[in-house]
């Protein structure tokens, strides 16, 4: 079973997407802030990380940077799932090594799930 780590501080989103992905047969690990996110990524080596950018304790940019600097986690693909949409932010996370960038408000749940499934094929 493929493992997905979902780093997101908004519980509603966490629950909804988490549940939907579980129904699709994935194992979901959740982290409500950046620090926990990093710890869980190192501990459980997920197949994919979904990462929000505005997070308590450590923001998504920093989390991404640290994940990519660490030997154990640097090859795990990261999807940025955020509502920020400034061109500078997009450029920044892509240059830091994120695989793709999705603006949450602009996608239906099904579309997000399809993208995740595609990536884990």
């Amino acid at each position: 079973m493929k493992k997905i780590l979902f780093i997101e501080d908004e519980p509603t989103l966490q629950k909804t997407l988490g549940r939907a992905l579980e129904q699709e047969g994935f194992e979901i690990l959740s982290a409500l802030d950046g620090e926990i996110g990093i710890t869980k990524a190192k501990e459980s080596k997920p197949d994919l990380i979904l990462l929000d950018l505005i997070l308590p304790k450590m923001d998504g940019f920093e989390v991404l940077k640290r994940l990519k600097e660490n030997e154990e986690t640097k090859d795990i693909p990261v999807i940025i799932l955020t509502n920020l949409e400034n061109p500078e932010d997009i450029e920044k996370v892509l240059s830091l090594g994120a695989t793709t960038y999705l603006v949450k408000a602009n996608y239906d749940l099904e579309e997000v799930i399809d993208k995740i499934k595609d990536m884990l094929k």
């Binding site: 908004e10 509603t12 989103l13 909804t16 997407l17 549940r19 939907a20 129904q23 509502n83 920020l84 949409e85 400034n86 061109p87 949450k104 408000a105 602009n106 239906d108 749940l109 099904e110 997000v112």
Partner: protein
């Protein structure tokens, strides 16, 4: 003079700052004071003052007054600029804060509609679909507000590539075909063969086409016709979106690209809309060094067109 004074008051009220902080007023006032003080000091100096030192002191004190006045003018400009910055920042923050709960609703509703929670009966399904479409409307509004604030801050970055406008238009027409059918409106594309590519940001041009097609369908009457025509005009590709809908009254045509403007005959029909679409559309076309315009007649219809430069080989 009194009349133009009154105009200043109106102008300054619009900015909601006092007359003594209002640059337009202070600037004219300063002009008058300069002219008056030059004449007066010349007059006084030549008639009553023999000592050049006194004349120098007089000129100096006048210069001092003018400096203070000049300073308050600059201050007034700063206040206006600051107010504008705060407004844009406010819109930005509100928009981002709105997006989080909106995406939460969108996904939760998607969860229900996807049959992931339980099987829904048709009435439940219909109601939830209504929530879905309204949430999407709200998201669209927030997106528009963000685009407007970016346009105003000059923070739009174009990702230009060579694109085929005909292909893009076809895609957009497919996207709108069910909406057009539901509104009993025929939607057709007529494109010249082998049009050259344009150099443009496809996401932005998509929004332009969406806005124009959306408006054309929305403001058409039943059994209306919407036609999109593509042609080559010198160094430009021209796109026309023509409808035979409600049209825009003559006296309102000059406001059509203004932010939040909505035509009165449209408001009567109570169709949805934010009055932001055409403002954004024009800004995007201008950023591409393109041209945009329209022709419209009330009750006969409108043609909105834009031209984008052909990509160099």
């Amino acid at each position: 003079m009194i009349l133009s004074q009154l105009n200043f008051i109106k102008e300054c009220k619009k900015y909601s700052i006092s007359l003594w902080q209002c640059p337009t007023f202070l600037f004219v006032l300063m002009g008058f004071i300069i002219i008056l003080s030059i004449l007066l000091s010349y007059f006084i100096a030549s008639k009553y003052i023999s000592d050049p030192l006194v004349t120098a002191l007089l000129t100096l004190s006048i210069a001092f007054v003018l400096m203070i006045l000049g300073y308050s003018i600059v201050n007034g400009f700063e206040k206006l600029a600051e107010a504008n910055r705060l407004k844009t920042e406010f819109v930005n923050i509100v928009a981002h804060q709105l997006r989080t709960p909106l995406s939460a609703i969108r996904w939760s509703v998607g969860f229900l509609l996807g049959g992931k929670a339980a099987h829904l009966n048709s009435q439940q399904y219909e109601q939830i679909e209504l929530i879905q479409s309204n949430v999407k409307r709200l998201i669209r509004l927030v997106d528009d507000l963000l685009d407007v604030s970016r346009v105003e801050q000059g923070r739009i970055v174009l990702k230009k590539e060579k694109i085929d406008l005909g292909k893009l238009a076809k895609e957009m027409i497919e996207q709108y075909s069910s909406y057009a059918r539901a509104s009993d409106i025929s939607l057709k594309l007529k494109a010249e063969k082998k049009l050259p590519l344009i150099s443009a940001d496809s996401e932005k041009i998509k929004i332009v086409l969406q806005n124009l097609i959306d408006n054309a369908i929305r403001y058409s009457k039943k059994n209306g016709k919407v036609q999109i025509k593509l042609s080559k005009e010198n160094d430009y590709i021209k796109c026309e979106v023509k409808d035979n809908g409600v049209g825009i009254p003559k006296n309102e045509q000059k406001y059509i690209f203004r932010k939040f403007f909505r035509s009165s005959n449209i408001l009567r029909r109570q169709t949805r809309g934010t009055g932001l679409g055409l403002f954004i559309t024009k800004a995007f076309i201008n950023l591409h060094n393109g041209r945009i315009g329209f022709k419209s007649e009330e009750n006969k219809g409108s043609v909105f067109w834009f031209e984008l430069p052909i990509a160099p080989h």
